[in-house]
């Protein structure tokens, strides 16, 4: 067997070392930011912080959470994620189910291409912006939810899942007198829970991370958290120092920013273990077909 040869064993050890380093490189920057956020400003200025906090303190966090704007934005984001997931999944499932029954659906292929075409060609930023204005959706949460409610990519994933379900189940249910809606709710949805979970988490993460639509469609006081974080993290506001000089011992621009980056990441880190269980299988099934 090849893996018992000496040269392969050497290769294997080197390979494990290399892959460990690559894998660690994906998480160490985050740990570095976390360490900075919990360290004192002085220690950070003196470059004493790498992967472990120095002079541990929570000042950056208490300052961030003490900000009323920040809490409002957090609340907006939570509402956005919940509404976005409920509406998004409903529309996605309702669209995917009929399209998974091409043979029962006259014009099904045309309708499918009607959706796919939107993946290929866009009106672009400015016409979309003007549309949201004309519809009077500016500064409402609907501007953040409705335009992307039907994710065509997710819909195709879902459609492929539905297609993989044995036809006999559907036939049995229809013969028993159930309509399509009942079949969808009682038969298809329960056995599609893993794929639904994948898409729920994709949609939820998408809404949590989205910031640009908030920036252009919402007024500052109604920004969701990602948009607020984006402006805080990106633009170094040198004109007005938010941290008084006396406080610099425990907190600087940089420790504050690091705390914000970490807070923005935290919800993803919390759902990631659940997400990870499902998505590999989900993506492969939906995307790679013979």
């Amino acid at each position: 067997m090849y893996y018992k040869t000496r040269s392969y064993r050497i290769f294997n050890v080197l390979n494990i070392i290399l892959l460990s380093l690559v894998a660690l490189s994906c998480i160490l920057p985050l740990i570095h930011i976390l360490a900075i956020s919990f360290s004192s400003g002085l220690a950070v200025e003196a470059n004493r912080v790498t992967f472990w906090p120095v002079d541990f303190n929570l000042d950056s966090y208490t300052r961030t959470f003490g900000d009323a704007n920040f809490l409002d934005a957090f609340f907006t984001s939570v509402v956005r994620v919940i509404l976005g997931v409920v509406i998004g999944i409903t529309v996605t499932v309702l669209t995917a189910y009929p399209l998974s029954k091409m043979e029962a659906l006259r014009g099904g292929r045309v309708i499918a291409w009607f959706f796919v075409f939107t993946m290929l060609f866009h009106g672009g930023l400015i016409p979309s912006y003007i549309l949201i204005q004309k519809l009077h959706l500016m500064n409402t949460i609907w501007a953040l939810i409705l335009p992307g409610a039907l994710g065509v990519y997710n819909m195709i994933l879902m459609l492929n899942f539905f297609r993989a379900i044995p036809r006999e189940l559907e036939e049995a249910s229809l013969i028993d007198g159930a309509g399509h809606l009942t079949t969808l709710l009682r038969v298809y949805l329960p056995i599609s829970m893993p794929s639904i979970a994948t898409i729920v988490l994709f949609v939820a993460v998408g809404h949590w991370n989205a910031w640009f639509d908030g920036l252009i469609y919402m007024q500052k006081e109604n920004w969701p958290m990602s948009t607020l974080l984006q402006t805080m993290i990106k633009v170094p506001d040198l004109s007005q120092r938010t941290v008084a000089d006396t406080e610099i011992v425990n907190m600087t621009e940089r420790t504050l920013k690091s705390a914000k980056i970490f807070i923005g990441t935290l919800p993803i880190l919390l759902v990631y273990p659940f997400l990870q269980r499902y998505f590999v299988k989900g993506i492969v099934l939906g995307a790679v077909k013979g």
Binding site: Y2, T5, F11, N12, N15, L18, S20, V22, A23, C26, P29, L30, H32, I33, I36, N47, T90, L94, T95, Y97, P98, K101, A104, A112, F115, V116, T118, L120, F121, H122, G124, L125, I126, P127, I130, L131, L146, G148, L150, M155, I156, L174, G179, H180, L181, L184, A210, W211, S226, L229, I233, K234, R254, S258, K260, T265, I268, V280, I283, V288
Partner: protein, 296 residues
């Protein structure tokens, strides 16, 4: 009887169709303002028509030509790097027989994909700033001078391509690993009987198993030759690197929305959509032709 039962299928499609018509097809009609001197208070019907003026302006402005070139250059570099690295990584990971280690590596490398460019860009720019860990610890310990990564155009491009790959390479390996797990084990046994070593097996069995999916991913990526990554660039760039880092999407935002040059911005956006459309259709055609790929 059957038809009555199936009628409900059309009702199910209704919400999706309405939303798509409203938010995706209606903006396509809005593309007419690429040919208008659009004034929001006049609207589509009363704004003056200017023909191809905006396109002429766009292709005469030096900065917009530079922007198209930047977009193309950055996007193409990303396409190549984002294909090569995941393939090599998948091949190396495939050699690991310690399943726990393999799972642990996978868990870690998939993670950055789920972070937004807001936070990932924040991490990157912190690490690369003049006070960041690279400039204060890593480079001095190697005896090198500090580098202003985000203030120098050439370094900026490098950072864009490298950090995008860093964030996405793990997630991109998923499809390659899936293809590798489908390889028929008897092929390995056969080559072993023939006396092939592992290196030869990799060339004759493992790599060829990846070729179809490499073709699919590679051709489909052609569709994004003008998508250099708005989120990433927007969160990392600054006026110092506009000359080498500004891309079509960021340019449309700044010129079109911030400076309210709606017509010009839309014209450039339309150019991008049209080129993108042709490329994607071509890519899908090639992928279906040569690798038997279908959307559904």
């Amino acid at each position: 009887m059957k038809l009555r039962k199936n009628g409900v299928l059309y009702w199910m499609l209704l919400p999706g169709v309405l939303l798509t018509l409203l938010f995706h097809y209606l903006p396509m009609a809005g593309l007419v303002i690429a040919f208008q001197d659009f004034k929001p208070w006049l609207g589509f019907s009363k704004s003056a028509w200017v023909g191809l003026d905006h396109f002429r302006t766009a292709f005469q402005r030096e900065d917009s030509l530079q922007v198209v070139w930047n977009t193309f250059f950055i996007a193409c570099s990303k396409i190549i790097v984002n294909l090569v690295v995941p393939v090599i990584f998948a091949l190396l990971l495939n050699e690991i027989r310690q399943m726990r280690f393999k799972k642990a590596v996978q868990t870690l490398v998939y993670l950055p994909h789920f972070l937004s460019w807001v936070v990932f860009g924040g991490i990157v720019s912190d690490m690369l700033s003049s006070q960041g860990i690279i400039n204060t610890l890593l480079l001095p310990s190697l005896g090198l001078q500090p580098i202003l990564f985000l203030a120098d155009g050439d370094w900026f491009r490098f950072v864009i391509i490298f950090s995008d790959n860093w964030k996405e390479f793990g997630f991109a390996t998923i499809v390659f690993l899936a293809a590798l797990s489908n390889v028929d084990p008897s092929l390995y046994e056969a080559t072993e009987v023939d006396g092939a070593n592992r290196w030869q097996q990799t060339w004759t069995v493992t790599f060829p198993a990846l070729v179809p999916i490499i073709i699919v991913v590679g051709t489909l990526a052609m569709g994004s030759v003008l998508n250099a990554g708005f989120d990433q660039i927007f969160n990392l760039y600054n006026p110092l690197v506009y000359d080498k880092g500004d891309i079509i999407d960021t340019f449309v935002y700044r010129v079109g929305l911030l400076n309210s040059q709606f017509g010009l911005g839309t014209a450039i956006g339309l150019f991008k959509s049209a080129v993108g459309f042709v490329m994607i259709v071509m890519a899908y055609y090639l992928a279906s032709r040569f690798a038997n790929y279908r959307i559904f």
